[in-house]
Symmetry: C2
Subunit: 262 residues, 2 copies
């Protein structure tokens, strides 16, 4: 949602003072980057059912040559096609969440709290660390509540805070992630590496990052120090906000949702 | 490949003067974003073979009930499993390039010119505009030449310039993309929207972008104005460079590769 090019002149822009990109540009950018990180998990998740389907077909082609009676053949083929169908269902189940996710963002419509929590739950399965090591607890106060802003903004904001939580979890191999959704707030709570509370005020400043540079060397690094900055700016544009706090060994990111625009 | 955290203190960094992020951080960031943009095409490309497999299984389960003789049953099932196998091959063909692409970057090894060109050719099929509207011409001078720097750097740099070319093509619905690879240079040539040649020197400055703000409103926008900046900085770190020029209605992006480090 970039602002209009008012002068109508030659396409060109220079970032204004302080050289901080537009929050909306950052949203698109960070969100695209978040999706890029899901690719590895997506490929991993589809490979298992595809391999099973491949084996089932190969073995069937071999077995057909050895089965002599009509009854046995019918029985065998019915069973084999049924098993194939089950494996195909597994494959489509792996792909469905990412399709739904893309569509929800594209449609840019109000989400119910349940839709958001289901989307998040399934999306987290594409993060292989999360899938295998993290106990995810989703807690929705009122499932039918319509959330604002719309999906095209809210999902990227949630994804950015999830991305932070996942990074914090991986850093110290921690294992708990809770997402709590009410009509007016979304809390993302992790027991990951956390941050120095004395830096808390600075975290929303542009270019400030608490992530260690040596973090997760085998993973993609993408810490511009603008993640919390843009999420907060964008939520503020909707009369909402974003905050981050510590409580014992947990980090709590909170999205304050505005009231509906009705 | 972030630089070492030399002070060994609390994990924290602030961007140095001018608030321009490290080129290596930008590389990871832009590359992750490039991959995120492939998701839509990837999902689109896998859906067709999955749907065919689904139909084949469903119809088979129906048909089995009506086939009476043993010979016909054997013939039918053999044919059906063979067709299923072909569709599965199509599905794996769609997924193989993205797996290879991820692995090549991860392995961070010297690529042959042929490997790079094949990777690019298949990758472009995940960009739906390119797949359906653009005539791609790949031209490799010496297929066995080993290119430097290694895949973990070279592929993201090539992807960034490809991303620029694809954006330029989509902007004016243009249709020609040529990639020419020699031992010492990679040229990416498109007949897209181009740029004002009087701005050419500025394009490699950080925060400068020639893309129109109103560009492709339905697509993800991510123009920080740092793309050419980091590709050039990184290539320069390897004694290479990046340049961009216009020739009639084409834009030519050139990666100057350094000599091998042997």
């Amino acid at each position: 949602m970039p602002k209009e090019n008012k002068n109508g002149k030659k396409p060109r822009w220079v970032h204004p003072m302080s050289q901080i990109p537009e929050p909306w540009i950052l949203l698109n950018y960070y969100f695209s980057s978040f999706k890029g990180k899901l690719l590895k998990g997506l490929i991993h998740n589809v490979n298992s059912p595809i391999q099973n389907i491949s084996f089932l077909i190969e073995f069937a082609l071999q077995d057909l040559k050895t089965i002599k009676t009509s009854d046995k053949l019918l029985e065998y083929c019915t069973a084999r096609f049924s098993t194939l169908k089950k494996q195909l269902v597994k494959l489509t189940e792996v792909l469905r969440p990412i399709e739904l996710f893309e569509r929800l963002v594209y449609e840019d419509r109000p989400l119910t709290a349940l839709e958001l929590s289901e989307t998040v739950r399934e999306l987290l399965l594409y993060d292989l660390y999360c899938k295998h090591h993290v106990k995810v607890n989703l807690d929705v106060a009122s499932k039918a509540s319509l959330l604002f802003p719309n999906s095209g903004t809210l999902i990227p904001v949630v994804c950015q805070l999830l991305d932070n939580a996942l990074t914090a979890l991986k850093t110290i191999k921690a294992d708990k992630l809770t997402i709590h959704i009410t009509e007016t707030e979304i809390h993302i709570i992790d027991n990951g590496c956390g941050f120095d509370i004395s830096n808390a005020a600075q975290l929303f400043e542009p270019w400030i990052s608490n992530w260690p540079l040596e973090l997760l060397p085998e993973e993609e690094q993408s810490h511009l120090g603008l993640g919390l900055y843009w999420t907060k700016k964008i939520m503020e544009a909707y009369n909402g906000s974003v905050a981050i706090s510590r409580n014992q060994d947990t980090t709590i990111s909170t999205i304050y949702l505005p009231r509906s625009e009705k």
